[in-house]
């Protein structure tokens, strides 16, 4: 059995990076699931892979021939702003309203 890769401290760090919050029960459950999943992902380390095998970001061949052409670099006015702003929980004069943005003294 592989040792636990994700300690409670590392888990808290990940929670911070993920910008979420959890109660203690949720934390324990998710930390345990992460470690179980990692046991599976660990199997990747044991797979013999030749240096020459390329990384594949997708399976299907995508190249200049089958990719759609980029559109012309011409300005095209869009009238969607109102509809997009209408989605927001709080807005004012076409701006999204948010609480204080935290500052750090450099």
């Amino acid at each position: 059995m592989t040792e636990e890769k994700i300690s409670p401290e590392l888990f808290e760090h990940l929670v911070g990076l993920a910008a979420i919050a959890l109660d203690p029960t949720q934390s324990e459950y998710l930390r345990s699931e992460l470690n179980k999943q990692l046991n599976v992902i660990e199997e990747l380390k044991a797979i013999p892979i030749d240096e020459s095998v390329p990384l594949a970001s997708h399976g299907v061949v995508i190249n200049a021939q089958n990719m759609p052409a980029l559109r012309l670099d011409e300005p095209r006015p869009s009238d969607h702003a109102k509809r997009i702003i209408a989605q927001s929980p709080e807005s004012e004069d076409g701006y999204f309203v948010v609480p204080e943005i935290p500052h750090e003294d450099i």
Partner: protein
Amino acid sequence: MALIDLSASELIARIRRKEIKATEVLDSALERIQAVDGRPGSLDGLPVTAEDEKKVHAFITLTDELARQQALEVDRKIAHGEDPGLLAGVPVTIKDIFCMDGVLSTAASRILSNFKAPYTATSVARLQDAGAVVLGKVNLDEFTYGSSSESSAFQPSPRNPWDTSRVPGGSSGGSTASVAAGEAPLSLGTDTAGSIRQPAAFCGVVGVKPTYGRVSRYGLIAFGSSLDSPGPISRTVKDAARMLQVIAGPDRHDSTALNQPVPDYLAELKKDIRGMRIGLSPDYFNLSFPDPVTGELQYAEIQEEIGAAVTDAAEVLADLGAIIVENVPMPNCRYAIPAYFAISRVEAASNLHRFDGVKYGYRTPEDVGDLIELYRRSRAEGFGLEPKLRILMGMYVSAAEHASAYYQKALKVRSMIRNDFDQVFDPHGEHQLDALLTPTTATTAFKRKAVYGNSVLMQYSDQMTVTSNHAGVPALTLPGGLDENGLPIGIQLIGNDFREDMILRIGNAYEQITADEAWRKVRPQVLQGEVIA
């Protein structure tokens, strides 16, 4: 048999011949929904009653007014001799992972429970332009994360119409359940690791994952951007082909929707399958899973009846003149789930960053001191456990110190899985296959709550399907029989890039020749004892 039990092809023919009206078909659909669906999934948190347990619960949002307008428009066009479209008057359900202008588009998540999209996904727009009648948005696993549809924030989650104590599969469980229960002949789902095919197998319907890049992802709320594909769900192969015809093709809003000509799928179905080379791979007839105690990889046989259904199908296809090629090696498919964990979680974490309570969707009502607290509280309250789990794993796997060990290694494994397919489909290679024939799943539909909560075991139910998502190749599932509990068995056909025509052709041939099999006459549990008008 009610109107809504007819195939899409049959409905379209009768509508065009003016034998029935689109509004009558709609009425039939709404009647069926009323009879079998029960209350829609919601956030109200009311306890599930004994009555609830007998219903399908496919829906989140019923768009009956919109549907009525669309049906009336089809009838108007017919009356005026105008072309009503390739899917004229056919009711369709839409997995609630697609944006629809002015309609709640929730991703089955609290974080989007109030979100009315300001635009319509391309695949949905194409269905509407072709005259389809949108009945509404159907339920799924939250953000498509799951293989049972149980993780939806909108409860009750969908049940399997063949046995409502069992899951319909996931994540397109609402889609496949709505089609199996005869609420609509068609549904639009999505497939990232098997999310169309696995629930389609569990629900005894046809499900197609097109080639990556065949169908535009514009307006599809993203999970794994290199893996996702929208696709058709139906009760017949011909209906799936018709629906694919409508949604396939390039789209200037999606740079990964490739410039590949779209064949006439319906015309291709008419061709026979003599001489087609169909492979069987032993690597798809057993399943691997990590031992729950030791974590070591174990091997087990798949459910016996499923293996038997595939072997029987091979014989049927051989009788039709296909050449069955046995012992085709696909050696890298055993690494597909570990690689999928790494790749999909990184993409999921990235795609979920945008849900922050600022621009749309859920914002915490709590008094928060600053913007970071707003993000944290909104995401904590808005996301369910499975999205949180995937974000956390994505953060870990993509971190600088782990990326080469896990993520980059996984991308190399992806190359190797792709290579397995390139080898077997190579027209000058050893096997020269036109398609692979495999089981779709290792088991038939499991009981509700039997697997939920065990994220590893849940992911492993996608073993046979996820390889095609890694490789990008098209695959479909179709009904291949029932097991001893009367539960549907799915058989899978996997084809080469952009050769949906090939697998649809084989699937159609199989479906036609087995049309009179006794198992095809059995109806799902929720439809048994129904008064046939």
